[in-house]
């Protein structure tokens, strides 16, 4: 792990000079439960995509809604909202 900056080395008042760098922060590692999609049940309605509070669902080449595990925090809203029970939450393991 890289050395953390000292108080003198940190930017003035924590200003971030690099716009949009939050994409580098992979919030997916907060997750304890992982949404898993069953493609057989999915009808591509896109409700999971609409409800996801973290915009962590994208549409793949085939038109399926796919979870981006780099940013999905595992809140479970997609699983709760899916009208076809195509998403289930499973425990994250090592």
């Amino acid at each position: 792990m890289a050395e953390l900056p000292t108080w003198k080395e940190m930017n003035h008042a924590c200003i971030v000079f690099e716009p949009g760098n939050s994409v580098q922060y992979l919030t997916g590692d907060w997750r304890s439960m992982r949404p898993e999609r069953n493609e057989d049940k999915c009808v591509k309605c896109g409700e999971c995509w609409m409800y996801c509070p973290d915009c962590a669902i994208y549409i793949d080449d085939r038109g399926f809604y796919v979870v981006d595990y780099d940013y999905c925090k595992g809140c479970g809203i997609c699983a709760a909202e899916c009208p076809h029970d195509a998403i289930v939450m499973v425990e994250e393991c090592e």
Partner: protein
């Protein structure tokens, strides 16, 4: 040329803000601060001040607007009092954490309840740790001067920190005093236009106020603490320049007949004037009493206090704020902490007086000093005493 005129101190404050040529004012009226912002709104309406005056629905919004304006690089001013300060307290910590050089006039007023509009210093003491530079004015001229100085101090690249100038509600804000109002030709060289080092700009994008994880937070707070303490030499430098330009001197603690004093009264704000009168009377009686009027509260002028008060036998602190259930008045507690590790330290006697507009007359200061001397002599010093309360 400067004009010396009889003017309400609140209006004097507004005149200073007008001369500072502020870009944005966002304020909500509250007694006894109202005259300051009312007059500023007139200045803008009458075309004397080219400024965005944002009328807001609360003090929380006032400070939020000020933060946005200051972050965008505007010279920014607001004013409030008491409950209004409490309502903006959430934003005060953010303004200092983001190091935005906002200037605020705080017309010190009691925190309710019981409901009161009168003055004391319980409002400013309630936000002691909010990270702003805090100075106390004790007369109208100081209000005018310190308001202008505040912009220069806050905006200095070595400081970049918001600043509060306290003036006592009613005892200062609503009285008419002779004030020397400088003109623009005199003010402009002292206070050139604000050139922000960091600002929100769509062409040079940066982010302020980002989320911080525990492994960074303490370092940022250390940086802020060092910056606030580091403002001290800049404040002295600005005060020195002020004296050279305009002939009026400012010090972190303003001493009066204190050189050989065995007993020194410590107080902040307008009541210093009455304390001075009491000192003169006691000196006439042959008592070695002096006064230290506290001008700078944050950064706390530790070295000045240890140097100037360390030789006294008794330091009598008169706090116009009650730390309910605490170990003493806020200023007294701080002085005790400053002296605790010193070999030679004065007896520090804490009185809480002058709450919610109640006067402390000169003979009452004399009685306070007499009581303090007795407690110190008997070696039985209470943590604090509420002076003049009917039993």
């Amino acid at each position: 040329m400067a004009r010396r005129m009889g003017i309400e101190v609140s209006i004097g404050c507004s005149e200073a803000v007008t001369l500072a040529d502020v870009d944005v004012i966002a304020a909500y009226p509250i007694t006894p601060q109202t005259h300051i912002v009312e007059h500023l709104s007139e200045q803008v309406a009458d075309g004397h001040l080219d400024c965005e005056y944002i009328k807001v629905e609360s003090e929380q919004s006032a400070m939020s607007c000020c933060m946005g304006a200051s972050a965008a690089g505007a010279r920014t001013f607001t004013a409030t009092a008491s409950q209004g300060l409490a309502l903006m307290s959430e934003m005060l910590y953010i303004a200092s954490g983001l190091r935005l050089p906002i200037v605020m006039a705080l017309v010190t007023r009691t925190m309710s309840a019981p409901l009161t509009i009168w003055g004391d210093q319980s409002d400013i003491m309630s936000i002691r740790d909010c990270g702003w530079i805090v100075a106390f004015a004790e007369n109208g001229q100081e209000v005018f001067d310190m308001t202008l100085q505040a912009f220069r101090i806050a905006e200095d690249e070595r400081v970049l920190n918001p600043m509060i100038v306290c003036l006592d509600g009613f005892h200062l804000s609503h009285v008419i005093e002779p004030i020397e109002i400088l003109d623009r030709e005199e003010v402009d060289p002292f206070l050139p236009a604000y050139k922000p080092k960091y600002r929100l700009d769509p062409h040079e994008v940066l982010s302020m106020g980002c989320f911080t994880m525990p492994e960074y937070f303490s370092e940022i707070k250390k940086q802020q603490d060092e910056a606030l303490k580091g403002s001290y030499p800049v404040i002295l430098e600005v005060w020195k320049e002020w004296e050279e330009r305009f002939g009026r001197s400012y010090n972190p603690i303003n001493l009066y007949r204190a050189e050989d004093a065995e007993t020194v009264i410590v107080i902040a704000g307008a009541f210093s004037g009455t304390a001075r009168l009491a000192v003169d009377r006691m000196r006439e009686k042959g008592m070695k009493v002096g006064l230290a009027s506290l001008k700078l509260w944050r950064p706390f002028p530790l070295e000045d206090i240890l140097r100037e008060l360390g030789g006294a036998d008794v330091v009598v602190v008169v706090d116009r704020a009650l730390s309910v259930g605490g170990a003493g008045g806020p200023i007294a507690t701080e002085l005790r902490a400053a002296f605790y590790s010193r070999q030679r330290r004065p007896a520090i006697v804490s009185f809480v007086a002058g709450l919610s507009g109640r006067d402390i007359m000169a003979d009452q200061f004399e009685e306070i000093v007499e009581k303090a001397s007795r407690y110190a002599k008997e070696g039985d010093i209470p943590y604090y005493e509420m002076y003049g309360v009917r039993e």
